[in-house]
Structure formats: structure tokens, C-alpha cells
């Protein structure tokens, strides 16, 4: 009896036990800074110098101060709306482009693909002066998509929709067997029907991943947003939090930690929501069909 259990344990350890061990080590590394933020957020004193890894007390004073003393609610809503809109639009635009690059052969295809990679390498950071001057004119003509509006910011972000995302998607599209969409074409589907009805459902995992990446990148984007959104209420969380601790770092640290955690929540929610699409692995199912 004991030997059987022992054997089974040994077999389990060889099959998947070591996997769990590796993951636990990785988890310890991944999570301890986050534990520190949680602890700082709950720390009733709310200063940096009194924050520890394990919560030394428990209080919601920091959260109360954050909402009472700053327009954090506005920042939060702005961040989430901009990030969701940008993620959805970017996924759609880059999926269209990736489909074209993956399934059609046309003049300029190779140049286009390399061009996309190259243009991404220009430090956007220093093109910001050009973008700023451009939008000074835009604000003059069309104030509703100019500075202090989420629309102008979204447009600038969408300028980068084609790029590394298109490459990521194209790589995935290429691994979907051509026979699937070709047979749809033979059955009489138009190219648009093939794209929306056959291709998109098959590549859901990569759409989910790209959507998540863009969502996160938008939440974290700092420099362009700081040029665009100058009204205190129009700011995003990144701008608001940065402004908060650039002045009084030590004293505002607890509020900063609460804000950090609150903006991490929607990202986790999006990941949780997309998780099943990523996990479903629709492609491998389709090959068998």
C-alpha cells in the first residue's frame, strides 16, 4: 500500500511535480513586489518609510484620501475608456492588415511588412514635438478631436495600430491551415465572409493576446498622454498618479499604492475575461476537422 502511494507520488513528481515547483519559485519572484504594494496601500500611516512587506496594520484611510483629495474617479474612467477603445480598434485594424499580409500576395507586401517593423523603431518619444505641433493645428480646426479630448489621443495611438501587432497576428494567421479558408472560398464565400466567419473565430487566441497587450500598454502610456491631456479632469491614472508623487513622494506613498492597485484591477479583469479564449486553443481543434 505504502509503496504504491510512494510510486504514485514519484510518478507525479516526475510528470508534473517539478512543474509546480518551478512555477512556485517563479511566483515568489513575481509576487513579492506586489505584496509590498498591497501592504503599503493598507498601511494606515500611508508613508513610504513606514511601509513593510507584510502589512503592519489595516486601514482604508489611503483609499479615502485618494478619492477625497484627488479627481481619481475621473482619471480612472478616462484610463479605462481610452484603453478599451484603443484595444478594440487596434485589434480590428491589425487583424485586417494581418489577414491581407498572411493570405494575399501583392506588390509591396514584403516592403510593407519590413516598413512596419522599421517605422516602429523610431523613438516616438522625440517625435512628440512633431505630434504636438500637428495637433495644435488640429485643435484649431476641430476642437472635438484636439487636445484635452480622448479622441485625439486615440487617433495618435491608432497611428501605431499596424506594427508589431500586425506581425504577431500574421505569424499566428500563417499557422492556420490555408485549406480551411480556401475551402470556404470554394464553397462560395466572399473574401469578407471568409475573414469574418472563418478566419476571425480561428484566431481568437491571438486576438485576445493582442487586445490584452494593447490594453496594458495604453493604461501605462505616459508621455503622449501628458502632452494631450492637460485639464486635471481629463487626465489618465498614469498622469494623475505621477503628478501625485512627483511632489510629495513619502507622504503620498499610500495613496499612490492604492491607485496602483486600483488601475491594476481592470487589467486583471480583462485578462481573466480573455483567459478562456486564450486557453481554448481553437486552432488545434480546427485542424482535426
Amino acid at each position: 500500500m505504502a509503496t504504491t502511494t510512494g510510486n504514485r507520488t514519484l510518478r507525479w513528481a516526475r510528470r508534473s511535480g517539478w512543474r509546480h515547483l518551478v512555477i512556485w519559485v517563479a511566483l515568489a519572484f513575481a509576487l513579492f513586489p506586489i505584496l509590498f504594494v498591497v501592504s503599503a496601500a493598507l498601511n494606515p500611516l500611508g508613508t513610504l518609510s513606514t511601509s513593510q512587506l507584510v502589512p503592519s496594520g489595516f486601514g482604508l484611510d489611503n483609499a479615502v484620501r485618494l478619492f477625497r483629495n484627488t479627481p481619481f474617479g475621473d482619471w480612472y474612467l478616462n484610463s479605462i475608456l481610452i484603453a478599451l477603445a484603443n484595444a478594440a480598434a487596434t485589434v480590428f485594424l491589425s487583424a485586417l492588415a494581418a489577414y491581407a499580409f498572411s493570405r494575399f500576395r501583392f506588390t509591396g507586401r514584403r516592403v510593407g511588412l519590413f516598413g512596419l517593423l522599421l517605422i516602429q523603431m523610431f523613438p516616438q518619444f522625440l517625435a512628440i514635438v512633431a505630434i504636438y505641433l500637428m495637433f495644435t493645428t488640429v485643435t484649431e480646426y476641430w476642437p472635438s478631436i484636439g487636445f484635452d479630448t480622448p479622441w485625439g489621443l486615440l487617433l495618435v495611438y491608432l497611428g501605431g495600430a499596424l506594427g508589431v501587432n500586425t506581425w504577431l497576428m500574421k505569424g499566428f494567421f500563417d499557422t492556420v491551415p490555408r485549406e480551411l479558408d480556401e475551402s470556404a472560398r470554394v464553397d462560395g464565400a466572399s473574401h469578407a465572409q471568409t475573414f469574418f466567419r472563418i478566419m476571425l473565430p480561428l484566431v481568437t487566441p491571438v486576438l485576445a493576446i493582442v487586445g490584452l497587450l494593447v490594453f496594458i500598454a495604453t493604461i501605462n502610456e505616459f508621455l503622449i498622454a501628458s502632452v494631450f491631456l492637460r485639464d486635471p479632469e481629463a487626465k489618465t491614472v498614469a498622469l494623475g498618479l505621477y503628478g501625485m508623487i512627483s511632489g510629495e513622494r513619502d507622504a503620498n506613498f499610500g495613496m499612490f499604492a492604492v491607485g496602483t492597485l486600483l488601475i491594476a484591477l481592470p487589467t486583471m479583469a480583462v485578462f481573466w475575461f480573455l483567459q478562456r479564449f486564450i486557453a481554448e486553443g481553437l486552432t488545434s481543434g480546427a485542424v482535426k476537422g
Binding site: L96, F104, L117, I119, A127, G163, G188, Q275, V287
Partner: protein, 538 residues
């Protein structure tokens, strides 16, 4: 693999259109719903074009209108034509790419051959107007105005505006370009005659005014004919005549008070007198390659240049290697059927990526603090992490890995899922070991999707301004050299040179960013070329 040229019928450069398929004529133009969507989208495009054209028309901007018309025509042409199928898919993203990425980049490149920056912002005419206005002095017949200092947008950094009330009660807004009359409804005037609120402007508080005192004292509103309005004190302004006047014949500015003559130097965009003194207001001119040669030959720049370049490459390559190895290893460890708790593991492992990175850089910096940092306290160490060049570099790489590996983990997970398990299973049945199957089957297939990601991760980290700026601000600095720190990347170094201290030098900064672009592009092209056999670009 299927032949490449299928599915491209009718596309430019593709195979000729095949004979109609059975039943194909029924759906040639898509379903009725598809037609409706197409009509709706084209209608929306037309409506947007109209909306965009109105303000352009009102301002008489015919170039703008023709661009809008051209783009709209292109959209209609592409989507109404049955051909050019790939363009239909590429057009929306490409239009946005051109407008908001390529044009700014081209503009930056064109800026790199100018002296654009503080003191060289506008045209020569604007510089002259501003010089004349700045030299205004009070005379016997000066008109006095009540003044409120305001700004456009941000009170601390926005463009200054003088809100003025003339003796007859008329309200004006005056900026560096001149006076505009304010409509009575747009401005609120106090009983003392000062404007307290005005549509579109932020009136500065007393504290904000005193913070920008120097700027305000130097500010002048040109009113034409060699006169201008300057502030006297913080609540009054006067209009007077200029002591400095431009003379077109000698292309120079004469100061009637001191008699000095400043001649225009059209190559440098400044007015200089015989002693070489220049007036602070200059204008924008082309300076050719001098910004670029400055990067290579200016001793204050190139002394540290190669050391920084080496660390920059090591930082980007090291980050890519670390995040790739860790991300892929974790994806592989979890890529097994029936692993318990996989969903929870995956969510927890990706948590660092869900944390806002800008905030985490600041947080890690505090954790590496030598005195009360968490790292030292936890491990009982006494290391001045960010004070020593090599530990600072190690800390930076570690933090960058912490933030970056979840991305590669997600990409690798996605890519692994797209590889049919049958392929690996077949290899295993044929007698390949786990490592061999991975090395010869899984990895090459993975690299198809991963190579461009790795290259762009490299490019991203090559210019990872936030990481270095928020963690170390480029430091620690060697004694006696406050310009080039041990962890400086080219981009943070450039930032300090261009924007730190001596005022904005956009032209020079643009030249350095073009330079950085060339380096990154070269490295990336070479590495893509090396891995070309892995890709399906052809």
C-alpha cells in the same frame, strides 16, 4: 503547405482570376447584410469628410480640403472596386499610420536639419516683431491698460497671454502674435476694470504669476508699426514705441537708445552686432548637417558616446535574452495537458504585467534603496544598489525582466497553442527525445511568430526611456561628469543634453533621434536578415 498564389485571384501581381466557381455568382458581392454594412461605412466616411471639410472651408484652407477630398475619393475607389482586395484590408490602418506616425517622423527628420528650439521658434518676421515689441519703452503719450496675466491650458507651462482692458473699456487678449479683441460675452471684467475670467484662457493666480515673473517681464505683445504692449508691475500694462527698429535695406536692427546695430545672420537665424553679441530672439533656419556632425565631433557629446552605446546595446540585448528565456521556459513548463491550477498560475504569473509599469519602476527604486529599501532589509544586505555602476545595471536588468517576461510568456503561450501537438507527438514516436523534439520541431515553428516580437522587444528596450529615467535617472554618475551616467541609454542621455538645463533644442534632439533610429534599424535589419530562413515573408 498550400501553393502561395491561391486566394489572390485578381489581385495586382497575383494570378489571373479563375473561372467562376459553381454558385459563386450568387455571392460574388457578398451577402445583403455585408452590402448594408459597406453602404453604412462608406456613408459614415462621407459624413466624416463633410464634417472635417467645414472648418477648413471656413478658414479658406484649400490644401486641407483637397487632402480630405483625395482621401475620401481613395476610400470610395478602393471599397467600390471589386479588385484590389488586399488594399481593402490594409487601407484603414495605413491611413492612420501615415497620418499619425509616418508624418510626425518625417517632420522630425526635417526638423533635424534646422535650429528649431527655444529662441528659434518662428519665422524671421515673427522674430523681428518680437524684438521690436520687447524693446518698447514708455513715452509721454503711452496708453495704459489694466492687465491680467493668463495662459493657454496649463498655468505653469502654457503659452502666456495678456488679458487687457483699454481705457475705453474694450477687452483684448494679447499673445506673442498680436492683439485680438474679446467679445463682451467672453470676458468677465471686475469693478476695478481687470478681466477675471475669459473664455479659453486660464487666469493665473498671484503665486503662479510670481513663479513666471521673469517670463512675464520679458513678454511683449506686438501691436504693429514698431510698437508693443509690455507689463508694468503685475496688474497694469502700457503701450509704447520700440527703441529697436528693423531696417529692411541693411537687413539689420538698430537700437535708437544705444546706437548698436544688429545685422541678420541668415545662416544661424540670429541678429548679431559687431562684437558678436546676439539678440535672444532668433528665427528658424536650415543648418544642414551640423546637428548630425555635432553628435559625432562635439567633444562634450562623443566622449561618452561609445560607452553609452555599448551599455545601451547590452541593456537591450540582455533584456531580450532574459525575458525570452524566462517567458518561454514558463510557457513550456505550463504547456502540458491536465496541469492542475493552470489558469490560476497563468493569471498570477502575468500579474507583474498587469501592474502599471511606470508606478512599478518607482516602487522598485524604493525597494533598492540602500538605507531602508526592502531588498536590503529582506536579505539582510547592506548594498548600495543604485549607487554602484554594476549593481545599478544589474538591478535595472532585473526589474526590466520582472516587468517584461509576462509579455514573452503570453506570446510564447499563444504561439505554442498554434503548433499542432501532432507534430511533436510524431517526432517523439519517431524516436526523438524531448529536447530534440523541442529543438528541431517546436522551436523553429515558434520562431516564425517570435522573431519579429524579439526584434521589436529589442527596439523597444533600446529606447526604454521610462525604465532608466524612473529607476536611476541615468545614474550613478562618475565623479566630475554629471552628463553621462553608468546606466544612461542614448535616449536619456540625449534628453539631458537637449532638454536639460540649457533650454529646448528640438532640432538637435531630432538629429540625435534620427541617429538612434539608424542604429536600431541597422541592428534590427541585420538580425532579421540572419533569421530570414525562419520567416514566411516571401
Amino acid at each position: 503547405m498550400a501553393p502561395n498564389r491561391r486566394g489572390t485571384a485578381g489581385a495586382p501581381g497575383g494570378a489571373p482570376a479563375p473561372p467562376p466557381l459553381p454558385g459563386g455568382s450568387l455571392v460574388r458581392n457578398g451577402s445583403p447584410a455585408g452590402q448594408l454594412v459597406k453602404i453604412a461605412v462608406l456613408g459614415l466616411a462621407a459624413a466624416l469628410a463633410l464634417w472635417a471639410a467645414f472648418p477648413l472651408y471656413a478658414a479658406g484652407n484649400w490644401i486641407g480640403i483637397s487632402v480630405v477630398a483625395g482621401v475620401t475619393a481613395l476610400i470610395f475607389y478602393v471599397y467600390l472596386s471589386p479588385r484590389r482586395v488586399p488594399v481593402k484590408y490594409l487601407l484603414p490602418g495605413t491611413l492612420l499610420l501615415i497620418a499619425f506616425q509616418i508624418l510626425p517622423v518625417l517632420f522630425t527628420v526635417s526638423t533635424s536639419v534646422t535650429n528649431f528650439g527655444d529662441g528659434h521658434r518662428g519665422s524671421k518676421e515673427e522674430a523681428i516683431a518680437s524684438i521690436e515689441a520687447a524693446s518698447v519703452e514708455r513715452s509721454a503719450d503711452s496708453v495704459d491698460y489694466a492687465l491680467s496675466v493668463a495662459a493657454v491650458g496649463d498655468p505653469a507651462g502654457g503659452e502666456l497671454v495678456f488679458l487687457l482692458t483699454a481705457p475705453d473699456g474694450t477687452s483684448y487678449a494679447g499673445d506673442a502674435e498680436g492683439l485680438t479683441e474679446l467679445a463682451p460675452g467672453d470676458a468677465t471684467v471686475s469693478t476695478a476694470g481687470r478681466i477675471t475670467e475669459a473664455e479659453g484662457y486660464v487666469v493665473l493666480t498671484a503665486a503662479e504669476v510670481s513663479a513666471r515673473g521673469e517670463e512675464i517681464a520679458a513678454f511683449a505683445v506686438p501691436t504693429g508699426g514698431g510698437s508693443g504692449i509690455r507689463s508694468s508691475g503685475l496688474s497694469a500694462a502700457y503701450e509704447g514705441s520700440a527703441t529697436r527698429a528693423y531696417d529692411e535695406e541693411c537687413d539689420c536692427i538698430t537700437d535708437s537708445a544705444s546706437g548698436a546695430v544688429f545685422t541678420a545672420d541668415d545662416e544661424r537665424g540670429v541678429f548679431v552686432d559687431e562684437a558678436g553679441q546676439r539678440l535672444p530672439q532668433g528665427w528658424q533656419v536650415d543648418v544642414g548637417w551640423s546637428n548630425f556632425t555635432k553628435v559625432l565631433t562635439d567633444p562634450s557629446v562623443n566622449a561618452s558616446f561609445f560607452g553609452i552605446l555599448a551599455w545601451n546595446i547590452a541593456f537591450a540585448a540582455g533584456t531580450v535574452l532574459l525575458v525570452f528565456v524566462v517567458g518561454l521556459a514558463l510557457a513550456l513548463v505550463m504547456h502540458v495537458q491536465g496541469l492542475r491550477g493552470r489558469t490560476a498560475y497563468r493569471i498570477l504569473l502575468v500579474l507583474p504585467y498587469a501592474m502599471p509599469s511606470f508606478a512599478m519602476f518607482l516602487l522598485w527604486r524604493d525597494m533598492f534603496n540602500a538605507d531602508f529599501g526592502l531588498v536590503n532589509r529582506m536579505f539582510g544586505l547592506d548594498v548600495d544598489w543604485l549607487g554602484d555602476p554594476w549593481t545599478a545595471r544589474a538591478a535595472l536588468l532585473l526589474v526590466n525582466m520582472w516587468l517584461g517576461y509576462p509579455y514573452l510568456f503570453l506570446v510564447a503561450t499563444g504561439a505554442l497553442q498554434s503548433i499542432p501537438r501532432e507534430l511533436v507527438q510524431a517526432a517523439r514516436i519517431d524516436g526523438a527525445g524531448a529536447w530534440q523534439a523541442f529543438r528541431h520541431v517546436t522551436l523553429p515553428l515558434l520562431m516564425v511568430a517570435m522573431t519579429p516580437i524579439l526584434v521589436s522587444t529589442f527596439a523597444f528596450n533600446f529606447n526604454n526611456f521610462n525604465a532608466v529615467y524612473l529607476m536611476t535617472e541615468g545614474g550613478p554618475f562618475p565623479p566630475g561628469n554629471p552628463m553621462a551616467g553608468a546606466t544612461d541609454l542614448l535616449i536619456t542621455y540625449t534628453y539631458r543634453l537637449a532638454f536639460g538645463g540649457q533650454g529646448a533644442q528640438y532640432g538637435y534632439a531630432a538629429a540625435v533621434s534620427v541617429f538612434i533610429f539608424l542604429i536600431v534599424a541597422l541592428i534590427s535589419l541585420v538580425s532579421l536578415r540572419q533569421s530570414r530562413s525562419l520567416e514566411e515573408v516571401h
